[in-house]
Amino acid sequence: MEALLGFLIFGVTIGVVYGIVALGISLIYTGLDIVHFAHGEIYMFGAFLGLVFAHQYNVPYWLAILCAMIVTGLLGIVIERVFYRRLTRAGGGYTVAGMGMIICGFGMSVVLQNIAFLIWGADAEPFPVNFGMPYQIGEIFLPKSYVATAVAALVLMGGLHVFLKKTKIGLAVRAVAQNKDIAFLMGINVPLMISLIFGVACAIAAAAGVLIGPMQSVQVEMGYLMLMKAFAAAVVGGFGSLPGAILGGLLVGIFENLGAAYISGSHKDIYAFLLLILVLMFRPQGLFGVEAKVKA
């Protein structure tokens, strides 16, 4: 019983991080109509930037998260403006031309990874943050970093919710996500909003990177596996649904940890893919029945 609780805790703590990254992927999907295959590398950049702020400039951890978010967000905006804009402007849809966006994403991921390697080297970097002694619930230890991760995820989620529902810019973002032409006709600067959406999504990924730093250390190659899990989370929750992304993340995290615990530990990383494929095959709109844009 306690073991089960332990597995659940692990599932939830990693799941919220999947969820945060999935949140960004979902946001980009709603805003730009693209699936961003280089998002794992954005997450990695965020983690490294957080490390730079925390250790080279000695800013406190929470401020490092914020700084990393801002810088990564700006980086995302530059990438979107310079590269993706030319493709998305040519029209969405996933015909032969739309395939370009996917290939471009893969290329960008290779480029970003190489740049990060040239800047920070290939070795993993520790991200020690002293949170103090873990909480103890019976036999279960609950490190404070897990609690911090969960709290940060909730704050991000809440912040994004307030931003989208309560602010004027948030309203405009939603308008752009739903229909760009009408948003344009309402006087909304759609290109700017698209950049903003992309920037916010990248900033969120950076937050996830900094949050996971203390747990898994920071390395140039960290993005790929996270990206796959986050894709699974986004699909499970319903692409384009923001609460769905977080729920999907939790589900993927718990599913893979329980699978590893009770089915076979060696196949842990396959469970997320399994979930991804099953959901895609039988319920492409996601498990939670939220309205999702399924592109034809």
Binding site: L171, R174, A175, F184, L185, M186, V190
Partner: protein
């Protein structure tokens, strides 16, 4: 107020409009008529900057607005109201209206205009907290007109407000369009419903195959039975609709 001279545009390499001339005087209601695929919607898209203008001129208040970005055109007070089916279904009615007021920052003015819209269309006030996806067709049409009004327009361009609506509803909407016009907003009405449009408007253009075919004061055009029968696709259906 609006001057369109020799407008040429299209999609990709296909030319849709081949030299259109339209002129709208301030405070008036002008209608552009034509059947499906004659280029009416293309004209509106070019006017609001959604598609590039290839050649010709668009003057709004004497200044060229051709190939400006849509949000810049909106800032000048030229607002297009899209067809009824294009609201934001996942937003509430009031959120939809607030999107219309995006360019404005005067809270008082927005509040006042919101009340004005609710005054025009009381049905919207009742449903202000509902998702607009749950509204009826007529209500959505009211919503998108209201959304256009929220931008505090000087000129409103309506794209087929009567499309696929019951006659009673159409009447209500047209009555309100008239009230809006009386409040000092210039109206450019693009329609298939010839009879209704010509009743409302003071001047009309009939376009076909990307050119203005006939133009003239509304009374003259509505008298010209041959115009309707020969050149307006779908007139028979709309006449039946009228008579029912």
């Amino acid at each position: 107020m609006l001057e369109v001279r020799d407008l040429q545009t299209g999609y990709g390499r296909i030319k849709i409009l081949d030299g259109v001339n339209v002129s709208v005087a301030g405070g008036s209601i002008v209608t552009v008529l034509g059947g499906n695929g004659t280029g009416k919607s293309t004209l509106l898209k070019a006017l609001s900057g959604l598609i590039p203008v290839w050649d010709g001129e668009i003057l709004f208040d004497g200044e060229s607005i051709a190939n400006l970005r849509p949000d810049r055109i909106v800032n000048r007070g030229l607002i297009q109201v899209t067809q009824g089916k294009e609201a934001y279904p996942a937003m509430t009615v009031e959120e939809n209206l607030m999107v219309g007021a995006f360019t404005r920052s005067d809270k008082q003015g927005i509040r006042r205009d919101l009340d004005k819209v609710y005054d025009y269309f009381p049905a919207l006030q009742e449903r202000r907290r509902q998702l607009s996806g749950t509204l009826s067709g007529g209500e959505v049409q009211m919503l998108v007109i209201g959304r256009g009004l929220m931008a505090n327009p000087r000129m409103l361009m309506l794209d087929e407000p009567s499309a696929a609506l019951a006659p009673q509803v159409v009447l209500n909407i047209f009555a309100n369009v008239y009230r809006i016009s009386q409040s000092g907003v210039t109206i450019l009405l693009v329609e298939q419903n010839v009879r209704m449009a010509l009743l409302l408007a003071g001047y009309g253009y009939i376009i076909r195959d990307g050119r203005v075919l006939i133009e003239g004061p509304a009374e003259e055009l509505s008298g010209d039975e041959s115009v309707k029968l020969s050149y307006l696709g779908g007139t028979v259906a709309s006449r039946e609709q009228m008579s029912s």
